[in-house]
């Protein structure tokens, strides 16, 4: 009985955190009227999409014991690629495919370098952070890439005529989250990701092809980052090579707030999604409270530290 309560608390930790944050913003007079409304939450969900989809890929990478710092640059690069393809008149489907492909390609290079050269992911992706950003600016000629109307532009809008339907981006993020959670939990690939992050030596001993697995993880995560780039493009309606600077840190923070361990082997998709929501709710709430942006930054920074500390307390009590 006591065990069950403990398990529930462990699993529901980030979720309780989310409820606390929502409750806090629902109480003050300034926000009471607007905060706890469907329309506001529709906005929050839409604002979460890019970080959430990035966090799907990042969860896989962090659970496997790695890290990827090049996500922000990848998102900028893929959104420029997408804008160029649309500008060239090749149609929506080719644009989407090109973005997923180019994201996956950057991941493939990252994973190949990490596994092949046996270098730490931190260094490799710190390097590709610069390379991808530079490539984006080069492709875009250091300007924004504009194009005429495209269906892509409608996928992140909150102002649709029916008012209640969630935008495409939210649905895509939801479906992908469910799919990724299932893959991580129930497939050979997913269990091997956990095994790799939990103990690489054991994984090797048990005959898991660790080199190939690492390349696959970064490539697949790269595809997710390409998709995040798609929704970045959809939101801005132009390809901007200077967008999403530092976004990788938001994404990593979401995964960590969600209970994943930077040393690998621990983490869930549900947790990461809630982590992404907690940050979006904090931003949204702070704005409604009329707090300046520097105040939001301080709060989110503190929340990361508190979340990990509370998580450690919980783990400590467990063993």
């Amino acid at each position: 009985m006591k065990d069950t309560a403990k398990i529930v608390l462990t699993k529901a930790g980030p979720f309780l955190g989310l409820l606390v944050v929502i409750a806090l913003f629902s109480i003050p007079n300034e926000t009471r009227e607007f905060f706890l409304t469907y329309h506001n939450f529709k906005t929050i969900f839409t604002q979460t999409v890019i970080v959430a989809i990035g966090a799907l890929g990042m969860t896989m990478i962090i659970v496997s014991g790695g890290i990827d710092l090049s996500v922000g640059s990848s998102i900028a690069l893929t959104s420029v690629v997408g804008a160029l393809v649309i500008q060239a008149g090749w149609g929506t489907a080719s644009a989407v495919a090109a973005m997923i492909f180019s994201g996956g390609f950057i991941g493939l290079l990252n994973g190949g370098a990490i596994a092949g050269l046996r270098m730490t992911p931190f260094i490799i992706t710190l390097g590709s952070l610069g390379v991808a950003r530079g490539m984006a600016k080069w492709l875009a000629d250091s300007q924004t890439v504009n194009y005429e109307a495209s269906p892509v532009n409608r996928w992140m809008t909150t102002a649709d005529p029916f008012g209640y339907a969630l935008p495409t981006g939210v649905w895509v993020a939801l479906v992908l989250a469910v799919l990724t959670a299932l893959i991580l939990r129930n497939t050979v690939f997913g269990r091997h990701v956990f095994a790799l992050g939990s103990n690489e030596a054991t994984a090797r001993l048990c005959g898991i092809p660790t080199t190939r697995l690492k390349v696959m993880i970064y490539a697949l995560a790269g595809c997710f980052f390409g998709l995040a780039g798609l929704f970045q493009l959809s939101r801005l309606r132009q390809g901007d090579p200077t967008v999403a600077v530092g976004l990788e840190l938001d994404i990593i923070a979401a995964v960590i707030i969600g209970g994943a361990s930077l040393s690998g082997g621990v983490g869930t998709i549900l947790g990461s999604m809630i982590g992404a929501l907690i940050m979006a709710v904090l931003r949204n709430g702070s704005q409604q409270m009329g707090w300046p942006t520097y105040f939001q930054e301080i709060i989110i920074g503190l929340v990361i530290i508190i979340a990990v500390f509370v998580d450690r307390l919980r783990q400590g009590r467990q063993t």
Binding site: R191, A195, T202, G207
Partner: protein
């Protein structure tokens, strides 16, 4: 040189120390005179390390007294022990490789004024310490990592000398040295002895102990079983003291007989730790590998399994293609490996029992890459019940289990795979007696079912009780393979310590 009552540099009386139910030290007494080199001898697990940790302040004894130069000695921690006059040189080097030799020697004891390092004073002290060892020409400005292992050890000893210790403890100082370097170390020891420093010398190599030490103390099962002058004592006598023990009925014999050869290794080598080793393993055979820690037994197993690169030699698993030799392919050939390092390598502590147990064959639990979790847990639960693993259920994280139960799951991985050749590295290390007996039973049953088993163990009674054939390794060389009947503990120790 006898340690006389009044002038002993160090005197230990009735030292006892327990960890939970394990009585590591059951009453050790020791007396060392100034300028005496005293060898502490014993098998793995005899209590040498615990005794040294008590002496160097890392552990506090439960009972007994220690005196240093006639005054009570009760160090709070290794730093305190060092300040009071007992310094220790560990088997593993503890150097900051990027810092210079001088900085390493003075680490934590820098000459300074107002926080600024006084380079001239530092240099003089480092030189003085090196001069004590006869190494005053050593380049103090080179990074420590750029020196040979032997010179790194000199730097480490020089650091210990800074506090003018009365007693210097050396734990297996020659385990990574060449013969020539060992000679140089002995010369340094002779100089220190002449300066009145007492040295406690721990080594598995009895010949070495006889050369360098004045007196010896033999530990067995945490007790002093003999002490005396080195001069005139036969190594046979010391070996008898170390091993005088009977094999009990802990090792149930399951009827089995050796069949056809299933694995043959020919001149398998991996420099510098493993010299060319050859042996044949038969179905239904339990083959034991004896030797001291660092003798190359683990290196041999890892080379066979493809975990470590091998420089030369062939491993043929009968019925499989010869080219394949990565761990992945070894599992496919029916070869299973149990790591000696349960926590660092053997298991994934954050994952469930079921995941740990089925990691080598996840694909077998579903179709198209999707794992049937229920089936996986059911299989794991069956092993949990069979082997009486104490746990909540098969989905509990394995890190929450006791060592013995973790080890049962680690072995169950090989059983479930299923392997036909079992490479078991220290299968009973650090687990309770009940689980040990169960694992011995299991190994016997495996041989009875026609599986081939290789057991590496540092515990001789275990090897003698369990194995059909035993090979002994010494300094990377697999020198003697004989049927069990031709071995005794004394004989194994003689070959393992390179005594002649």
């Amino acid at each position: 040189m006898m340690a006389d009552e009044a002038s002993a540099a160090l005197r230990l009386t009735g030292i006892k120390k327990s960890f939970g139910a394990t009585r590591a030290l059951r009453g050790v007494s020791l007396q060392i005179a100034p300028g005496e080199v005293h060898a502490i001898i014993g098998e793995n697990g005899a209590g040498k390390s615990t005794l040294m940790k008590v002496l160097s302040g890392a552990h506090r004894p439960d009972e007994g007294t220690m005196e240093l130069s006639g005054r009570p000695f009760a160090p709070d921690n290794p730093h305190d022990a060092r300040l009071k006059g007992v310094a220790m040189i560990y088997q593993e080097l503890n150097l900051a490789f990027h810092l210079t030799a001088q900085e390493n020697i003075l680490l934590g004891a820098e000459s300074s004024s107002l926080g600024w390092v006084d380079r001239r004073a530092s240099r003089e002290r480092a030189r003085a310490a090196l001069a004590q060892l006869g190494h005053e020409q050593l380049d103090l400005d080179r990074p420590a990592g750029s020196f040979s292992i032997a010179t790194q050890q000199v730097i480490e000893i020089a650091r210990a000398l800074l506090t003018n210790p009365k007693v210097l403890i050396m734990d297996e100082p020659t385990s990574s040295l060449t013969q020539a370097d060992t000679e140089r170390l002995f010369a340094a020891i002779a100089r220190l002895r002449a300066q009145g420093v007492s040295i406690i010398y721990i080594s598995h190599f009895l010949e070495e102990c006889r050369r360098v030490a004045d007196r010896y103390t033999v530990l067995k099962d945490g007790e002093t079983v003999g002490t005396g002058d080195m001069a005139g004592v036969g190594l046979d006598h010391i070996v008898t003291l170390m091993t005088g023990r009977e094999v009990k009925d802990l090792y149930p014999r399951v009827e089995h007989s050796a069949g056809a050869v299933v694995l043959s290794a020919t001149a398998v080598a991996s420099a510098p730790r493993l010299k060319p080793a050859s042996f044949e393993l038969r179905a239904g055979e339990i083959f034991g590998l004896a030797g001291l820690i660092g003798a190359g037994r683990t290196d041999l197993l890892r080379s066979l399994f493809g975990l470590d690169r091998r420089d030369a030699g062939d491993v043929v698993v009968v019925g499989a293609s010869a080219a394949a030799d990565s761990p992945r392919e070894r599992w496919a050939q029916g070869v299973g490996f149990l790591s000696e390092n349960r926590k660092e390598e053997g298991l994934m502590l954050t994952l469930s029992i079921a995941d740990n147990l089925t990691l080598t064959k996840h694909a077998a639990f579903g179709r198209f890459g999707w794992i049937d979790g229920r089936k996986q847990r059911a299989v794991a639960q069956r092993w949990v019940d069979d082997l009486r693993v104490k746990c909540r259920d098969a989905s509990q994280p394995i890190g929450q289990l006791s060592g013995g139960n973790q080890q049962k799951v680690a072995i169950a991985r090989l059983l479930e795979h299923p392997a036909r050749i079992f490479l078991l590295d220290e299968p009973t290390r650090g687990i309770d007696v009940g689980s040990k007996a169960q694992i011995y039973q299991l190994i016997g049953e495996l041989a009875g079912a026609g599986k081939a088993v290789v057991v590496v163990s540092s515990y001789l009674p275990e090897l003698l009780g369990l194995c059909d054939t035993i090979g002994v390794m010494c300094r990377g060389e697999l020198s003697a393979i004989r049927p069990r009947a031709q071995w005794s503990e004394a004989e194994i120790m003689r070959v393992a310590t390179g005594s002649t």
